[in-house]
């Protein structure tokens, strides 16, 4: 694997092997020494054009556990905000010896552009591009679902037979896009629930079932419900009338949560808007995987960094 840009590029075998390697990485967390020497001497650059402390810390932690040298470059307050282009920034980082660039950018396609423009040689890992994709988030979600269902018996398994419901702002969600492609590749059945204003055009061509009402989706025997974050600015853009109406129609309220099956897990990529898309009853319950997702994020990112960076460039091309 040269780059990780989109979960569309992953076949079932590759996706399962990433989850399996993440299992190996997870094992190292209970050891006396958590650090692995695997990427000693390699340089991983976190290039963040968009603020996201959680994702940045997760990638930093993953790279450091693998003994890579980590350079973090936040665009705010740097030359980028003074008009330096993505191209110049990337070439500068390459000149500093970056083996991999983890890029988070507000523009859809930014990671794709870095990988395919010919500007740089480094491996590119998409840490979220605009409203396009966020592949490591989807991988950690899949890992979390698999682990909750199969525990120690997870290795080698896909998500066949699982039913996952994704609720909320599908239109603007890179998490939703990456999850739709990955979860279906892994054999899961994916359902989307959103007001029609927050569904992307062409969603009928996606390998999913779309519901306009949360009840009809939750009435199915659901393995996981994934609630997406509602961004504040969506409320100003009249995608729905009010926060109260959104919470009532599409939020995982305490009542809806109580009606879920006993084994249904509740997922959220964070940060949560409590009382809007998710109630505290759901967020704080034992069935909530929110903190597991954070923990597993490090293992998934270790696995992906290992796969991208450890091998020789020729061998992995």
């Amino acid at each position: 694997m040269k780059h990780l840009l989109s979960t569309r590029d992953l076949d079932r075998e590759t996706a399962v092997s990433i989850l399996d390697i993440a299992e190996d990485m997870a094992r190292t967390a209970d050891r006396e020494v958590r650090k692995l020497p695997t990427l000693r001497g390699r340089t991983v650059v976190n290039l963040f054009f968009e603020d996201s402390t959680r994702t940045r810390l997760s990638f930093e932690s993953a790279a450091k556990r693998l003994s890579a040298d980590v350079i973090t470059f936040s665009a705010k307050g740097s030359s980028v905000s003074k008009g330096e282009s993505l191209k110049d920034t990337a070439q500068t980082l390459q000149a500093m010896g970056a083996d991999a660039i983890v890029v988070r950018h507000h523009g859809s396609g930014a990671a794709h552009l870095l990988a395919h423009s010919g500007w740089i040689e480094a491996h590119v890992l998409n840490a979220g591009d605009g409203t396009h994709e966020h592949p490591t988030q989807a991988l950690l979600d899949a890992f979390t679902i698999r682990q909750r269902c199969y525990g120690a018996d997870s290795r080698g398994r896909d998500l066949s037979g699982m039913r996952v419901v994704i609720v909320g702002d599908i239109l603007h969600s890179r998490v939703a896009r990456s999850n739709v492609w990955l979860l279906t590749t892994l054999g899961a059945e994916v359902h989307l629930v959103a007001p029609r204003t927050l569904l992307p055009s062409g969603v009928e061509t996606w390998p999913v079932r779309v519901h306009e009402h949360l009840e009809s989706a939750l009435a199915l025997d659901v393995d996981a419900v994934m609630m997406l974050r509602i961004q504040q600015e969506r409320m100003h853009d009249a995608f729905f009338p009010s926060a109260r109406e959104y919470a009532r129609e599409w939020g995982l309220t305490a009542e809806r949560f109580a009606a879920l099956g006993p084994d249904t897990m509740v997922m959220h990529p964070g940060p949560m808007n409590r009382g809007l898309e998710i109630s505290s009853a759901a967020a704080d319950s034992a069935r909530s995987t929110v903190l597991d997702q954070v923990t597993n994020g490090v293992f998934i990112r270790m696995a992906v960094l290992y796969l991208l960076v450890a091998g020789s460039p020729e061998a992995s091309a």
Binding site: G107, A110, S201
Partner: protein, 446 residues
Amino acid sequence: MTGLLIRGASVLGQSRDDIRVRDGRIVATGSLVAELDERVIDAEGLVALPGFVDLHTHLREPGGEASETVLTGTRAAAAGGFTAVFAMANTSPVADTAGVVEQVQQLGEQHGYATVRPIGAVTAGLAGERLSEIGAMARSRAAVRVFSDDGHCVHDALLMRRALEYVATFDGVIAQHAQEPRLTAGAQMNEGALSGELGLAGWPAVAEEAIIARDVLLAQHTGARLHVCHVSTAGSVEVIRWAKARGIAVTAEVTPHHLLLTEELARGYDAHFKVNPPLRRDEDARALREALADGTIDIVATDHAPHPAEAKECTWAEAAFGMVGLESALPVLQSTMIETGMLGFADIARVLSSAPAAIGRLEGYAAPVQEGVPANLVLVDPSARRTWSTDDLRGRSANTPYRGIELAGAIVATVHAGVPTVLDGVVRPAEEVATAASAAREAARG
């Protein structure tokens, strides 16, 4: 040498004739014998067409000289077989006063590659709030007849009504950039399954069609002339067809890129394919080709929109809209319309020359390649084929979308007002053209 003799050209792709040019005019056609003081151009196997007229060019001067100037833009025009271009008003300062339009027109005259007819802004500063100095521009030396806020839509219905009524006073036409601004806030590409997948904000067809529908009704109501810029959807074609059937005074243009290219090209996030209006679906491109063939769409205009490299070498959302298109216009038309049998070269003379000249009230293009008309000519080699590259461009910017695409047809020679601007496929140096153009003007004044 004072004259030109073009030998053996196929005029409008039909009869084989010689053409004699003297003092800026075509003085004879038929079977002619070369005279001593004539430059002879061997045009065996070439098609002679009237010089092309582009009703939609961005020359960028004043203010955008890093992308293009009147000199470099008209040089690109000459390379593409154009002898007249209408320069869009979105310069800096905006062409909304007599002073700016006269300056642009005068620069064009001085360089001599092509006639430059400035387009005046409809609203002051393109701000969409109040009318610009339309009368002053119409009565200036530039004699502006086409008014457009291109790049912006005149979206206020009342302002559009007033503009249509007011320019009619000066025999003018409003060239509308049809884009409902609220429906396209932040829009990046055609709205559809692909925009949903790529996570790029969609640009719905209805945003264009709704404005065109409103405007043709306003044109009917006011009795004024409306021209629709760069039509891009099958639905827009339907609206225009309906309006024409009702006798409304509407004309429409399509760009070469909307005839050939489709939204699929956005898949690689290469911003060279980012343009306003966006590339649409395959069925839209097909509808546009059919509409051009059946006359629903009157003309082809390039929307030549030069941008510096850095405006395209960035993420899609940050990149500028637009592509250069003067040099590639005829090759794209030959590839999409002629080689498919949808148009002949006589039709090309109409859609690329006489019809746009008529809409813009530009004289001298009504009767192509005849004795007595101004010598604005282009010689096309229809057998040429080449893989397009930035080496084929003659302007200042390189943002062509056709890199690596094979296109048919090549411009071998261009003659502007009797002065050759392109010979043997090579653009003549600026000083030679400027000197010859100046001498020709002196001679014409007698």
